[in-house]
């Protein structure tokens, strides 16, 4: 269709990086792609923290549960909800910020963080670089807050490894498009059959990768979604002043 859409349609996560650094020019272009993403009400309540220090990256890899590619990739970018920034504006206007105490406020920061992340991912891949999103910066959020020096009203939402690709993964199959795209109204009639079929597809995908411990999509979600996967998110967010009481 065109080069941009081809990059998006061939999205994959890279977990093996060369040691070569990412040039300042590339890094600036990638981060500017995130910076130009829209935000709700133009609040610009997202900040990113670029980590290149080897020791700090190693610590993040450990806090994320031993994800070695975080230490290996030359750049790690933490994407942070930054209601501290907006609070300065709200105070300047003589008002008291309330949005950060609401479910809506957290949700909006999540959506806007996703916009920043996707833009940086696509920009990076358009330059031939590899990326992998890192949700596990929410695994030990208090330690991340300390490591990145995050003040009240901020919270680490998601991260991204960035670097030159050593070895790339094959394209990971998605569930049938009819479980993603609905016309006019929500329609789950095809879900059960599509999930059965996808469970088989994913097992085949693991086999192709030579992994004998592969489990189905359903088994994976059963293991992971039967619990609050990162239970420290709510208490640490609350300690940072980000509530969801309203």
């Amino acid at each position: 269709m065109n080069e941009t859409i081809e990059i998006q349609h061939s999205h994959r996560s890279t977990r093996s990086y060369k040691t070569d650094p990412v040039s300042d020019e590339m890094l600036t272009a990638i981060i500017e792609a995130g910076h130009r993403a829209p935000s709700s009400m133009n609040a610009q309540e997202i900040s990113v923290i670029v980590v290149r220090d080897a020791e700090r990256k190693a610590k993040i890899a450990e806090l994320a549960g031993g994800q070695t590619w975080i230490a290996q990739a030359p750049v790690f970018i933490a994407i942070v909800a930054d209601y501290n920034k907006t609070d300065i504006g709200v105070r300047k206007a003589g008002q008291t910020q309330v949005i950060h105490e609401s479910m809506e406020g957290l949700l909006v920061a999540g959506i806007d963080a996703g916009l920043v992340l996707a833009n940086m991912m696509v920009a990076a891949r358009s330059l031939g670089l590899g990326i992998v999103p890192i949700g596990s910066i929410r695994r030990s959020p208090q330690a991340m807050v300390d490591l990145l020096g995050l003040p009240p009203l901020t919270f680490p939402l998601v991260g991204m490894c960035l670097g030159h690709i050593e070895k790339d993964a094959p394209l990971k199959p998605r569930m049938d498009a009819n479980t993603f795209r609905h016309e006019e109204r929500y329609d789950a009639n095809g879900y059960a059959a599509a999930i059965d079929s996808y469970d088989e597809t994913i097992l085949e995908y693991w086999k192709q990768l030579g992994r004998t411990d592969g489990i189905t999509w359903s088994q994976n979600l059963g293991n992971n979604l039967k619990q609050v996967y990162y239970p420290q998110v709510k208490p640490v967010a609350a300690m940072q002043g980000l509530l969801n009481d309203k």
Copy 2:
């Protein structure tokens, strides 16, 4: 730098559309760009609902508070948190889903919805089409739930208008990059000065658009963030079974 990054760096919102329909081929390519976005744990807990029916679009425009461009654009896409889809997989694995009762679960759906939205936006613009993200589908969420036939464990997060551009807006300035990008650790030292400068820049931007009612960034946030802007999000999400108690 390259075409993809140029599209991202020149992001703008379109609020004036031609009546020409979007071709099926283009729409499929755009939605597939969203479908190929990664999701946390490969949960694929996002669905999109494509609305082209004129009456339904007019109703959404009304529920969004009178945003006429929603009715005008030939396509509206609602992006929905879909823990109903994952629930089918979790049940198949013999487990009980819990994640949708947590702040973490809602946050992840927000991030993943943002990934889908950004990919669809960039794909659309790469094809010469215009888009505008619509947060105000959260303004009357119960009516949106009814209109889109959304079952328990689903919730409308954000929307997007899509169509051929009638008139495009000029590039909207962003706050200085040093308020977005931090090195190694969070550093808000430059914030106050950057906000003062940006408040002037935004006033100048409104003047260029011929708008005499333009206010500063700080005033805008003061007006909007002193409250929970869409107060129905939390109660309606709860009625859909999406809690944030854990």
